[in-house]
Amino acid sequence: MAILVDNNSRIVVQGLTGSAGRRHALLCREYGSQVVAGVTPGKGGTQVEGIPVFDSVEQAVRQTGADVGLIFVPPPVAADAILEACAAQLDLAVCITEGIPVRDMVLVNRMLRESRTRLIGPNCPGLITPGACKVGIMPGEIHRPGAIGVVSRSGTLTYEAVQQLSDAGLGQSTCVGIGGDPIIGTSFIDILQLFNEDPATEGVFLIGEIGGSAEEEAAAWIGRHMRKPVAAFIAGRTAPPGKRMGHAGAVISGASGRAVDKITALQAAGVEVATGPARLAEAMQQALRRGAGS
């Protein structure tokens, strides 16, 4: 079980012949994922370490039955790659690319409403169902199969959280990096909904950061609908206002986007918020205990 990807997921890597695409496609395959195809326009008919390369996603789907896209193409052509994945009717497109112009994503976002494809990212580490399928760039070995769903706007901070969870004996059902950009295909709420319905997930760890109001919206949804214990961490409690903290989305403007408001909203929804970055697993354990008690 778990959400979005499992043993049966068949991955097509868009940008397989580039250095990042090749490297990570092979690491995904090493982890056990079925990487069935690559796409690089103009390089159809070649192959990368036994993975056949096609000229288009549509051809790759027709010939290999691929249903999940993993996108590594450079920012200027990334929106086109996402739209191509949608046109080929993939179930899921995971876009790792960082630095896609907002204007391109505004258009992609508009087209996604009419598409059956779910987009994860962009500017994300991808997702992993430990022991079954890795579709992304995260280090596979820190994960353990288990019952905690992880959802995060961050990359390396997610690894930190997963490491702490695994060290504490809390394995993961699926870990999803939804991405750090202002416009992303899948929100916290979308993933929370999936975890809520997933029998393999017993609790959820949510990692947010300053900027925007996605965490507040997630908090409101959790308060109304979530039936499973949730713990969270919000990065950027000590960030200075008005500065962009690395992620395009992470900026506190005026009085909105502040860590303290996100934390308050989550706590009001019954979420156990970690008091510091070293106590992530502790917060999850606390949430599970409280969940079991109520």
Binding site: P76, P101, N109, R110, I137, L157, A235, P240
Partner: protein
């Protein structure tokens, strides 16, 4: 990416939006000349990357060219502090000298991204010249928000609707709608993050002009705007931030003593939180990027050490698939080259961890290895206390 008001106005006028006559002055003599050309009376506006200039004395009125000269001399090469700059202010290296107009009414217009909906939104208000956040608090019903379908763009009927909301009907309707359509075209074609006209003025003689303008562009779209590079005024940024940006490193100077080097923005923020929680004060935010390589680590390290306030170094790399020995080699190279003798705490996770640790511990530098974030933070704080 920010630009100055005068540059924003040049862009707007390229898209058919009228702006006051104005000239840029970099010294008092140029201000005198500009005022003379504009007919004597004029406004002098400090060009800085921040708003609230009126409140900080950054917009002054002169009655004659001579007065313009003396005011310019008092404004140029000073640091202007406004409610938006922070106490250190921003340096003023140019002034916009502009004609003073007889204004009948002022409005507010802006285009920006609505993150929650993932769409661009046009915001219009019949009250201009004041902070829009203030209007939003005092009189939210006066603010009109128009969602724009990106596949269609701003439609003429929407533009007329906005103009009517502003009270620009009758003979003013078509020109105002035209201005709004031009504004949207400017925003879209130039990959705007924010384009704001505040105020848009209607003059006694019925003209519509952008009295003030602010443009912020999407840094990610730089590749399709080759001309942007020369628009940036580097004097408005911390020199280290500029240098870091050139290597694609996100660096923000803070006021503490612990120099931080982290990969990934979220982890870098969490690292600052962790240090603060342990009673330490970070000297900077520094994100070398999720997949930092050897060269970037070396440059990041150099940037860190340029800040004289740094007394100790904290490195937190969750490499995962990156090799710790490679990162360690980068650190040693940078430390050797800079002659760094500061205490250093390193937390590194990834492949070849043991090799990375051995390299650092055998280097003869003052390096402490930590296995997790909490220990690492406590360690550097202890070493500096």
């Amino acid at each position: 990416m920010k630009i100055h008001e005068y540059q924003a106005k040049q862009l707007l006028s390229r898209f058919g939006i009228a702006v006051p006559r104005g000239l840029v002055a970099k010294c008092a003599a140029e201000a005198v000349q500009a005022a003379d050309q504009l007919g004597g009376a004029c406004l002098l506006k400090a060009q800085v990357y921040a708003g609230g200039r009126g409140k900080g004395g950054g917009i002054r009125r002169a009655g004659s060219p001579a007065e313009a000269g003396s005011i310019a001399a008092s404004m140029l090469h000073q640091r202007l502090v406004t409610p938006q700059t922070g106490p250190e202010g921003l340096s003023v290296s140019r002034l916009l000298v502009e004609e003073a107009l007889e204004v009948e009414a002022e409005y507010y217009l802006s285009l920006t991204l609505d993150r929650e909906r993932g769409r661009y939104v046009l915001i219009a208000c019949a009250v201009g010249g004041v902070d829009i956040e203030e209007t939003a608090r005092r009189a939210p019903e006066q603010i009109l928000r128009i969602d724009i379908d990106p596949a269609l763009g701003l439609q003429p009927f929407q533009a007329r609707h906005i103009a009517l909301h502003l009270g620009l009907g009758g003979s003013a309707l078509q020109p105002s709608a035209g201005l709004l359509l031009n504004l949207y075209r400017c925003f879209w074609e130039l990959d705007g993050s924010l384009v704001e006209i505040n105020p848009l003025a209607k003059t006694r003689d019925g003209r519509l002009l952008a009295l003030d303008a602010k443009c912020i562009f999407d840094d990610s779209a730089l590749f399709r705007h080759a001309d942007w590079a020369e628009l940036t005024d580097h004097s408005q940024y911390d020199p280290l931030e500029v240098r870091a940006a050139q290597s694609d490193i996100a660096y923000i100077k803070l006021d503490g003593r612990i120099g931080c080097l982290v990969n990934g923005a979220g982890l870098a923020m969490a690292t600052l939180d962790m240090l603060t929680e342990c009673g330490g004060r970070p000297a900077n935010f520094l994100d070398v990027g999720g997949g930092a390589d050897h060269a970037k680590v070396v440059e990041a390290f150099r940037i860190l050490l340029t800040d004289a306030a740094v007394e100790g170094i904290f490195i937190n790399i969750f490499g995962g698939i990156m090799r710790c020995d490679r990162i360690a080699e980068g650190l040693l190279e940078a430390a050797g080259e800079t002659g760094c003798r500061l205490p250093m705490v390193v937390r590194m996770a990834g492949s070849r961890q043991a090799e990375g640790r051995r390299l650092l511990e055998d280097s003869g530098l003052k390096v402490t290895w930590a296995d997790n974030l909490a220990d690492a933070a406590a360690c550097i704080v202890r070493q500096l206390s």
